[in-house]
Symmetry: C2
Subunit: 198 residues, 2 copies
Amino acid sequence: MLPINNPIVVQHLLKDQIDAISPISDEEFAYILSHFVVKKLKKHAFLVQQGDHVKYDYFVMKGCLKAYVADEDTGKEFIYQFAVEDWWVTDREAYFKKSAATINVDCLEDCEVLGITLENREKLGAEMWKYEHFLSVKANWGYNSLQKRLQMMIMGNAKKRYESFIQQYPHLYNRIPKSFIASYLGVSRETLSRLYAL
Amino acid sequence: MLPINNPIVVQHLLKDQIDAISPISDEEFAYILSHFVVKKLKKHAFLVQQGDHVKYDYFVMKGCLKAYVADEDTGKEFIYQFAVEDWWVTDREAYFKKSAATINVDCLEDCEVLGITLENREKLGAEMWKYEHFLSVKANWGYNSLQKRLQMMIMGNAKKRYESFIQQYPHLYNRIPKSFIASYLGVSRETLSRLYAL
């Protein structure tokens, strides 16, 4: 893990994301960024591993990751979430409760992420209303997306789930192996191929 | 809808909830409370109805409600959430985006709720860091609960879902009709009876 040594390179994505909710100055962003560390990982590496202490919430600068849990009985993997540039990923519950990770996050490509500890997150939130507001709004958006995903998984058939995914994440479809998309959608690889051929 | 005319009665639950995250004085709470309206509803009444403009996020003072969506094709209901005293409920997406409701929320008992508009929510958050922090933390907790629910619905069999519900919400089981619990768990009424008899 490296201290941030090139703020120019990493500045853009995160600042844009914060700006869209709470406009901030370059100085404010530089201060925020000083609370993050940079982490670079190779394809297949784990960012979070089940059982580990989860120290950071991660903002993705480069690459693509999947967050998943494996069923103890069946060994079947269920993918919660993919994360690409401009997305956040971690085991949120473990991060907030300082408990051991119950999910895994690994890299589908070489990745570069920015990590922030809970202490620094809370420190920034306490010091800057704008940052606390950003966190609050992001958490609400995340909740809404997750609720839609829950609804789709419970009520949507395979075709609806597939169409909804393509519509929502057109840029992910060719980037992520189909077997992982099938796991994310809760359908078999064969069903996905059939839908794709339609 | 009535202005709040008896702060003594309604004060307790909401203040306790905020206090647990952001300790506030009685004066601060009185100020917060002045941004809410009281709404009383009879059993079976709708708090939110599909297609409606969603003006308020609601804190439940008394009663029990269910938030659900009906499948257009099958007519099957899927219950997202129950809400009892000390919980929040609304169509969150419609509330935040000022769009029409895509879900329904109705009363399983006579209910009393406190409603806050998005404008007042944002006003309070902007004026009081403590309130913005409360909103941020609550949103994160909500996200974590929803992620657990998603995992349980995708990976847990009927028995696991049932056991998890009983463990998490022991006080709800005897308060809510079994057919609604079955819908919440995504199992048939018959399966639920079988599990209950075990």
